[in-house]
Every structure is written in C-alpha cells, then in structure tokens.
Amino acid sequence: MGRAFCRLLVLGAVLAGLPGLSLISPALAHHSFAMYDPAVTVRLDGTVKEFQWTNPHALLWVVGTTKPGENPTLWTIELPTSPGNLSRMGWTKHSLSPGDRVVVELNPLRDGQHGGSFRKMTMVQTGQVLLVNLRDQPKTEAAK
C-alpha cells in the first residue's frame, strides 16, 4: 500500500474520532446492499489502488473516471461476497494487483458518494472479464 494511501487512512481515522464527524460506525459487518442503486450502472475506467481479500466482503479501491474529461477520483468498491465464495468462483487474492488497468461496472451509492457494489470488471491489458455471480459457484458439478 502506498504511503499516500496510508496517510489518507490515518486522516480518515482521525476525522472519524472527532465529534460530529462519526464516519465510522462501531460495528458493520453483514449489511444489506440496498444503499447501492441497482437501477444505475456506473462504468469506472481506472487503475487498481488496492484489493483487500477480507470477510465478509472483499474490497477494491480504484482511481478512475466515469466520464471523459473528469478528474480521476478514488472509488471504494465492495464485492458482494467473501473470499470463500470468491475462491469457489475462481478468484484468488492475486486476481487484482495495484496498478492493474481496469474497467469496473458498479452500482453506485444512492447518495452520490464514490462507493459502489461490484458488478463486473474487465482487465484492460488482457481483456479478461471478472464476475461475481453466486450462481456460478462453484464451477464443479451442478446440482441435479
């Protein structure tokens, strides 16, 4: 993780500790995805900043743009499931690396903040498409 990114994290932690700026809830964990708008799909063209392989949801940070001429900004993207399920779909913790050029389709937060729920990703260099679809899990023998 880059030092600049760490500084942002520290800033976030500091801000969260200030009265009136309670950005961080005491516990979050499993949550509904209703705050993401399923009717809207945003296409984020950018570069992977970090990919975090954690439960209950893996997280992805991408710096990119959603329209031509826009200044690149940092988006926080939540994958809708966990490393266990992702592994059964063929993902690994190495599926994405910092610096990878990607195009991510996501359902954005309804309030306009730069967060979203992962829908689909295309690796620009290889054309590989990454999906998160519980229906595909796993690709071994399907139930009869």
């Binding site: 950005l23 439960n55 997280l59 939540e78 490393p83 266990g84 399920n85 796993p138 023998e141």
Partner: protein
C-alpha cells in the same frame, strides 16, 4: 474407607440432577460399534453451498436474498415488515446483522450465502458454517431430550433423530432477539418461544434439502414453511475457509512503528464502505 465415602458424597453433591423431561445421556466413550454405525448413515460429506433462486425456482423476494415462502405475519408484525421493506426499497436498510452478534437460527440455514459442512460423530451431528465467523450448530442425536429450562442461545438447543435417510431436528431455547429474516435489511425478532423443526435429507446425489417449519407464536400467524437447498462440491478448491465477521470493516496497513495493523474504514449508516477522505 472414610475418605472414599467422602469422595462419593462430594461427587453426588456435584452431579447435576435430572430434571423433568430430561433423559440420561451416556457418559461413556463411544464404542467401536458406535463409530461403525456411522457408516450406515447417508453420505453428507463434502462442502455444501446454498442454491440461488434460479435453481430453487423462486424469484428473489428481497435485494440480494431469497425466500421460498413468505411468512404469514401477525398484524402488528406485518405492519413493521411493510415499513422495513419500504425503507429497504428506498435505500435505507435497517440491517439486522450489523452488530456481529451471531445470526442464529433460522438465519444459519436460510439466510447464509456461504458454504456449510456437516460432520457425523457418535451421538452428534455438527454443522459448520463459513458464514458468520465460522459458527456452528450442535445437534444431539444420542436420544437426549431438550433441557427443561435451557439457557437461551442464538442457535438454540437442537436434538435430532434419523428417520431413514432424513435427519429430523427439533430446536428450542432460542433468544427472543434472534431474527425471523427476510433479508439482511428486513426482519423482526422472534420475541420468544420460537420452535423450529427441520427435515434434512439428500434430494439428489449432490443436493441437500432442508425443510424448515418455524413456529414463532408472538410474530407469525401460522408456522412458516421454508425450504433451502444446498449443492455439494468436493476437492480442495471448494474448501471452507476462515471467515471473520468484521475484518472487512478495516483496512490493512502499517502503523508508524511498522507493525501490521487494522485501521478502521469509514462507512455509511447502512454499512457500505465509503471512499476515504482525500483532504483536498
């Protein structure tokens, strides 16, 4: 001799007396025959992943989740559910699992999106979950009854018996705060006296079916019948992994001393991770 007699008296004093409705459970070690008997049970080995709605044949009733039959709520509960559904639809979910307390039953079986595995040992069936911090259910199949006055817990007290290839499980002793769930943002506490009966069986070579009948007299007008199906996978690629409840609420980083630490991430009120403040 006096010392031996004293030890017997002390031992009796500490032995838990049986209460009404309780049966004695063998305290001896399982025999070779007990272990051999397990081979007669159906093969439920492997890793079981819950089936999505397209396979169970029903559309999702709530965002990201699915139910196969809608519960018949009592009027006051129905009013609350309608309000929660409206909030969910408006993007303001009232999350029911946000505090990382165990989801409990019936969520353990009907709400999980993660894998299960099931172990048979003499007198016990153990269901290990990947969801929810790898929590587990213990189902006693040694013939015991429920305790007369069980300590209330999230997964309750479960006893089971085999009817052919079907494991029949009876669960009581559930905390009143444990939810009747329709989704991660829609659900109500059972408010006490919940009772769950399950019939778990192989419905195909690699298909496990759990038919649940959930009775919650303070919230449901009639028992809620619900079926959840799981498909089987074998091999290391499908192995269940360690799953903590809250690790994703943090970001991995190094502190000023170079130690690997978890730093909290900002989230919105509904639990979605937010972009970090840029300071710009």
């Amino acid at each position: 001799m006096r010392l031996r007699a004293l030890l017997v008296v002390v031992g009796l004093a500490f032995a838990a007396p049986l209460r009404a409705g309780e049966t004695a459970v063998a305290a001896s070690a399982p025999s070779a025959r007990d272990w051999a008997e397990l081979a007669k049970l159906p093969d439920w080995s492997g890793v079981w992943t819950p089936l999505p709605p397209a396979v169970t044949g029903k559309p999702p009733a709530h965002a990201g989740q699915w139910v196969e039959s809608e519960p018949q709520w009592r009027p006051e509960a129905a009013r609350q559910i309608a309000a929660l559904e409206a909030e969910e639809a408006a993007g303001r979910p009232h999350n029911i699992y946000l505090n990382c307390l165990p989801e409990g039953m019936p969520s353990f079986m009907i709400m999980t999106l993660n894998a299960l595995e099931i172990l048979f040992t003499p007198g016990r069936v153990t269901i290990l979950g990947e969801f929810d911090g790898n929590r587990l259910r213990r189902i006693y199949t040694d013939g015991r009854a429920h305790p007369a006055d069980p300590d209330l817990t999230f997964n309750g007290h479960s006893i089971g018996h085999w009817e052919g290839g079907t494991l029949v499980v009876d669960t009581v002793g559930l905390l009143p705060e444990v939810f009747l769930p329709l989704g991660q943002g829609v659900g109500l506490p059972n408010n006490g006296d919940m009772h769950i009966v399950e019939h778990i069986r192989l419905a195909g070579p690699d298909l496990l079916q759990d038919d649940l009948l959930i009775t919650a007299p303070h919230m449901l007008a009639k028992p809620w019948a619900y079926t959840r199906k799981f498909k089987r996978h074998r091999g290391a690629a499908a192995d269940i992994v360690e799953a903590s409840c809250r690790q994703g609420d943090f970001v991995e980083q190094r502190d000023e001393a170079g130690n690997a630490v978890f730093a909290p991430l900002p989230h919105d009120a509904g639990g979605a991770p937010l972009p970090l403040p840029t300071g710009k």
